[in-house]
Symmetry: C2
Subunit: 287 residues, 2 copies
């Protein structure tokens, strides 16, 4: 199982990410078709050259055409979609996804999947504060991270093919984690940060706030503009890992608060020096 030069891609769900996948794949010369619920999304994608053709219902002929299926839908839609539609896929098809939480879908999909299909979960860590195929832009993948989360049910060949897809899309770093490691990591670097931004943006109600903010406040609240439907679902799907991360953050934040209350300047400076060293390390290019 590998991604051949003329591999035929079916994008399921033409939102911001599905549309950006389509755009990147078309630019690389792959045939791309799409299935999505809204005809206007299909029309937009056709008009703007993101896909070759598409359908607003899961047309069996379209499904039978695909070599690679990218599920770019909400987690709760994903499992059901595979269950209902897999019968139309050809043997040997590679299925992957873009879901931001893995534990809640990976086992369920792999448990019900036909033995002659393979699902390799992946998480493209790219996004925007805007929604829909109208905002699709494959430049969001440049410099970004792509995490593949295989299980023991996956073959090395399919995992490699899924990693190749990350490279084809233009991601800067491709890495592997188990679904559980992934969910813990994402609870930290993505979901916790969104919780913080929402809490920061709502903990004070100030008039003419724009006159008093500096870059730091604007940076920390950029993601406070949030798709509440999607993120509440992602939070709930990763509840234990996210709660654990929220508690770890609260413990550290409370430590800083208590150091300040006790006027422990050296303690505060030590935390600041540690955060400075870690943030610098984050900026360094890989060896």
């Amino acid at each position: 199982m590998k991604i051949d030069a003329g591999a035929r891609f079916l994008i399921v769900g033409l939102g911001l990410l599905g549309g950006s996948y389509a755009q990147a794949l078309k630019k690389q010369g792959y045939p791309v078709r799409a299935v999505t619920r809204s005809q206007s999304s299909i029309d937009y994608a056709l008009t703007n050259g993101l896909i070759d053709s598409g359908s607003a219902y899961p047309d069996p002929d379209l499904l039978a055409w695909a070599d690679v299926v990218v599920l770019a839908v909400y987690p709760h839609v994903l499992v059901e979609w595979v269950e209902v539609n897999q019968e139309h896929l050809r043997p040997g098809v590679l299925i992957t996804d873009v879901t931001g939480v893995k534990g809640c879908v990976v086992d369920r999909v792999q448990a019900l999947l036909r033995p002659d299909l393979e699902y390799v979960p992946a998480h493209p860590m790219a996004g925007r504060e805007t929604l829909g195929v109208q905002n699709a832009d494959c430049r969001i993948f440049q410099g970004a991270n792509y995490i593949v989360t295989p299980t023991e049910k996956n073959t090395p060949e399919a995992v490699s093919a899924c990693e190749d897809l990350g490279r084809i899309l233009g991601f800067a770093r491709i890495s592997r984690l188990t679904p559980a490691e992934h969910d813990r990591m994402i609870g930290f670097v993505s979901q916790l940060t969104h919780c913080i931004a929402v809490a920061l943006m709502t903990c004070n109600d100030i008039q003419r706030l724009e006159s008093y903010t500096g870059d730091s406040f604007r940076d920390l609240t950029r993601i406070a503009k949030i798709n509440d439907e999607m993120w509440s679902e992602l939070f709930l799907d990763n509840r234990p890992a996210l709660l654990e991360q929220m508690d770890a953050f609260t413990a550290q934040f409370t430590k800083m608060r208590d150091l300040l209350e006790r006027r422990d300047v050296e303690g505060m400076r030590q935390m600041m020096r540690q955060s400075t060293a870690r943030r610098k390390a984050l900026e360094q290019p890989e060896p």
Copy 2:
């Protein structure tokens, strides 16, 4: 008291901010001199055309030359500097500063100030994660906010002159707050955000973190690279207001945590919708 076309500026403290003030003022054609502790900072500023001349000690002739004195030094240095050096200033001089906390300096400076001098406190809300005059760049003022924090001891003319300085430097929005309002505001928009970034950056120790982060984590931790000497002093100088803001944030963050624990999706979505609306309002240009 106003800033005349040829007003002579003395910058006290040639760091990132003092150097950026000097650069902006020189570009506007004002005579600019500086007093700072390090001769190499003077040399750098001279070589790069940020000042006309300078001294590594508070030369009385230099002090007697100035029409406007900008104190760009740490809070604990500021009060003592005025006490020791004000005798050399000419009557009618306008003194202003760049200090990020006001309560701890404003009353003390105004209490000891000669009656024929006037100190109008100001906070230019611009900065960088780098230090020193070598990183001075007056473009940091573009689009940024400038807050003047006068007291009843100030004359309307001097307050206007200080606001004019903000415009001369190129700030986008000039506003007025009392020192107490300022410190509460800064506890929220600036100090709290730095506490959050430091806690976030230090609450987990993960190898190869750069492979898993998205824009959100990088945005929220940009300011975790922090000047520990300066910020610990600023935190301590604003301790009651900052503790209050930290507790307000913790309460809201804990609310989100408890909603998640109780699986209260509608409660989470309500917080997200409120944060989205407020963040959008922050982006809107003033009427």
